[in-house]
Each structure stands twice: as structure tokens, then as C-alpha cells.
Symmetry: C2
Subunit: 370 residues, 2 copies
Amino acid sequence: MISDRLAPRGFGHNTLHLKQRNNHQTQIDFVKIICPPYMGKQDSSQKEKKADDLPTVLLLRQPFVLTVYEKQFSEKFRFLKPWESSMPLHQFLSTHAGSVKAAFFTAGRPITADILQNLPELRFIMTTSAGLDHIDLNECKRRGIRVANAGSIFSEDVADTAVGLLIDVLRRVSAANRFVKAGLWQKKGDYSLGHKLGGKRVGIVGMGSIGLSVAKKLNPFGCIISYTSRNKKPHLSFPFYPYIKELAANCDIIIICCALTDQTRHMIDKNVMLALGKEGVIVNVARGAIVNEKELVECLLKGEIAGAGLDVFENEPNVPEELFSLDNVVMTPHHAVMTDESLNDLFQLVIGNLDAFFSNKPLTFEVVQA
Amino acid sequence: MISDRLAPRGFGHNTLHLKQRNNHQTQIDFVKIICPPYMGKQDSSQKEKKADDLPTVLLLRQPFVLTVYEKQFSEKFRFLKPWESSMPLHQFLSTHAGSVKAAFFTAGRPITADILQNLPELRFIMTTSAGLDHIDLNECKRRGIRVANAGSIFSEDVADTAVGLLIDVLRRVSAANRFVKAGLWQKKGDYSLGHKLGGKRVGIVGMGSIGLSVAKKLNPFGCIISYTSRNKKPHLSFPFYPYIKELAANCDIIIICCALTDQTRHMIDKNVMLALGKEGVIVNVARGAIVNEKELVECLLKGEIAGAGLDVFENEPNVPEELFSLDNVVMTPHHAVMTDESLNDLFQLVIGNLDAFFSNKPLTFEVVQA
């Protein structure tokens, strides 16, 4: 179904992972996800059309997947790109208001009621992310606008990053790499010790598809898993703590895997960090604003916690510069989801969902609001 | 049994991991390991003695574990330290020849027949490492000198490092960390994509306790495991390749976990790397000399393989400087075994084994030569 030819850069047998795809559902605060049994198939009967005849899809920013797969997308859809127009955004949207039934949005650009008001014909939003915090879902529900997200296609990659960041912080891989590459091994000799993963008590914050994948991956390391989540998961035997502070007090490490919502914003604050303690480590692969970043920086600088592995930040791409010199803080640029392979999966999902929307077929990973 | 008080630096509940300790046996080329059911208990009835009355143990270098646990060791044993004497080594050894029944050696200092010849009364060598390539085992066997090593106490930590290095190389964690900390995210925007672990074909070289642990840890990542080893392991269902080149040709990644022996020295050469291919990755947590380092450097510089995660090198602490600038090469200073927790385990093992030797009790991890 997925051809190697489409991959922007190869990695040996880079489609093999599809065999292992995990179809656990993404945990979102108040929505359910509908997963058809297969990812959106492309309609091979669709012939090449002139650009003007193609279905119109609104963008507000250029999604990275579109840059990489521009040719394949442009054979099937005509994308409206307001940033290429000299018109102000509102005027651009008003001009095209009558023709925009579908939009393809990225995370990080808020889709407010105000924006939606300019698009009276809009019936479908496809977003590149698993998170939905950038979209006014209540307004979408009120208007009957369907929304589909990236579902769980990124879950394994995000979980891999969480484990990678944790090993890096505990075993000081990045810092040791810098030490060796600066020629300090010869000059300074032994490098400082790290910490064992086995036996560490790891608290998962948000036991959705990512959290569950992290738990499964850390289990053979001998980590002792517990979790908090909106509700106890009856099928899981890991200990459940209803309150984040209680989880932190009973763990050496917390790994943040939940969605950003009004309830989770700044949930990880100084109180939680103090409960985690001076030898505690925080890993965040979810959203920056789930952590009170100012308090996190304070706690790291004061040694109130032992370290952090951070893929996400409150004000990306701005990162607290106070952390740059800390070896016990490992930072990556919100790229937990970003692999060649997951980008290919996203391409397949988006093109399949846009096809499905315009031909009245079921959507993959449609978000259904309760 | 093991007290937090003894740990040089704490990490929350740093003895919990003992509950998960894996007692798989280390794979060594021609020896068997005897593992009593518990790690060497200390004899609490032993009273403080004057230093001269304590059993004598020869060192050739200061083991790191002794530096950290000097006080505890010095209460029970008197260590002979030739580097503190003005005598040349041979003279020092001759002077003490009559009193040296036990020695405590580190890896990296060859224990040759020539050294052993100076120690006619030597009956026991304790070594800090799992590897035994630094000891002339044939001479020990001929002389009836018992040898005990670190057995599998480091296996989990080494396997953790292997997984950490692999995630780092595939997902570019260290390089991304450097990118963010150099303030380049704001300036340069998106960071280049990494590669997914899921679906990658991982070949384990040496299916001893470390190799098995790596396999178990990578399994939930969706990696497809196969291996080579001296013999096929009848209890394992992973595909077995008798020849390293065949393994490499059928894998995206090889992880070196075997002992260094005459048979494995330079086993991973250019031919193996070419069989692995341009998108292949090599991780080495075993011994540097298993890889032909000159050819590895050439292959990395020419792009004949895609990347490497290296904890060990042929001529430590010297590292090929040509690799310093390569983001696709992650290097750590032979510290795969080094955690606070494993150091504490090693302390318990060594002090227990020295006690056991001097009181004619069974040794833990005694090496029995076939």
C-alpha cells in the first residue's frame, strides 16, 4: 500500500514498521476517535485534473508534510496559501469564503472562532498533529465542522523519544558525547557516573496511546510503572494515582504524555516538582504549557529536581537559555514525532482523509466530541 | 542487604533495582560461570583488625570502586599498591611474593604469564570487569589460580546504554540537544528528521546476558531481532545467522555485545560494514577491538554506513578525532557499565568474593575453564 518511492529519504526497509503499527487510540480530554480498520486508501481511479478543477483546501501555514510531498498533494488538491497573497488574512478568507469546504492546519496556529467565522462553508479540518489544543473544538461542534487529527500514528515515535530522553538524562549520553568530542577523555579521564534505569519508579502522566507505549517500552528495563490519567484504566494493572502530586511523591521520574487542555495547563508546577524531589527527573514529550516552565527552570537551577528531558516548551521555538549550560537537561526541538517514516504515514493519512472527505467516505481518526 | 548509606551518591530509591536483577550468565568464549543463588554476603561477625592483621590483596592500578568505597574496603583488607612504592614493579612483586594470595585487578591492565610468574602464591584473581580478555586464563588454569569476574551485574546497564546509543543515533538526540542549546532552533527553524526504531532489523552480535537484554528491551520498540553467536541458542526464537556478514546483510543495525577474543578481534571489518550498507548503523558496547576502527572511520567518513553509537574504542582513551564533527556518530567514554547503582553492586560483589576466598567459601561469578 505504501511505496518506498514516496519516502523523501530512505532508511533501508523503512516501511517495515507498518507491520507493527500500534492502533491504540489517542487520549484526548473529551473526544473519541473513530479508527476505520485501515489507513485512508487513495482512490487510484482519480485522473489528473487541471489545477482549477481540483478540490480546494485552505492552509494557514505550510505544513512540513506538504513541503516534502508537494508533488503528490498538488496532483489532487488546490491549496489556498494566504501568505502568498498581498491581502490581509481576513480579506483573503472573505474572498475565498464561498469555496473553502476543507482546511489543512498545523499545530501551533490557533484556529479560533474568529477565524472560523470567516469560513461559513467550512465542513472539515484536517490537522497534522495528535494534539487538538490549537482548535476551538466547541465552535467546530456548534458549526458541525468535522475534525480529524493524526490519531496514534505518531505515538510510537513520541514514546521512543521519551525513552531516549530518559536514558540520555539518566545515563548522560549527550553530555558524555560532548565530553568525548571535546577531547576531554584523554585530558580529564573518568567521566562522572550516571544512574540505572532498572528499579526506578516511573510515573506516566496521561495513559493514552503514547503513555501506554512508554510503559510497555520501559517495562523490560525494570522500571516500576504507575500512572495518573483522567480515569483509572480497568484493563491496566499498573498502580493508578488520581492526583498528579501523589504520583510525583511516589516516583523518581515523571513522563508527561497527556494532551494540553484547560485542566492540564501548568499542571506540573513547583508543588509537583517538590513532591518529585531532588533526585527526580521530568520528561516532557507532550506540550510545553503542561509544565510551568518558569518554575521548572527555577527548580532545575536550584537543584530542586535532578534533571529534565524536554522535547516541548511553552513558547517554541524560544527555549529558556538558563538551561543551555546544564548537562542534566537534554532538549530537542519538538521533534518527537519527526521521523521519515512517520512523515510518510502522515502523508498517507492526510491525502486519504482529504480524498475521503470530498467523496463522502469515512474519515480516519475523526474526532467525535461527546 | 544493601544499604543506601553505602551508595556514594543517592538516586531516590537506588537499591530498588536489585529486585529486578537479571542473573543471566555472561557469555564468554570458553568458560562457564558459577553463580551462587545470592550475591556475596558480608561476614558481619568480622571485627575490626589492625591493618597488618588484615588479609593482603594485591592491586596493580587503583580500581574506581576502591576509590569510592575505600573506607569500607580498608576495614577488611590490606591493599598492596605498587605505584605508591619507589621499587620497580618486578621488584615490588618479588618482595611481596610470599604474602600475595589474592589480587584485585581492573580491565585494561594485561595480566600476563610474566606478571603471574612473580606471584607464586597467588590463588585468586578478582577482576572488576565482565570481560576477561586482559587476563591470561590459560596460565591461570595451569597454575590453578581461581578467577572471578563481574558476571552479569553490569549487563542491564550495558544493554541500557546500547539502546540509548541506538535511539540517540536514529533520533539524533545528542545532535538535536546541541542544536537547541546553540540557540539554532530560533535561527534555523526545523531540525532534520530522524528515523523510526519500529520495523528496523536489529542484529545482535553475541547473545550472552547483554545481548539478550538488548533484544528484550528492543522488542517492544517493534524492532525485528536476529543474532549471531558462537552457537545457536535453542531456547531463543530469534533468527540465528552463523556468519556475521550474513547477519549484517540482513539487518539495518548491528549491536555488538560479545566478548573480545582471538576469534572476535576485528570481526567487524569493512566487508561487514559494506554488507550492512549505506543506511546501516553500528552500536558497540563490548570492546573497541572487535571493530576494525580504522575501517569504521573510513566507512563513516565516506558514508558507507549511516551512523554509529560507540562506547568503546580500540585505543582508549584515544578516540578517532575524525569522528568528532559527525552528528551521526555518538560517542561515550566506555561508561556503559558506570552507574552509581552498578558500582554499589560491584562493591558488594568484590568485598563478598574476597571474604569468601579468604574463608574458603564459594565464590560468586567464578570463571571455570573448560
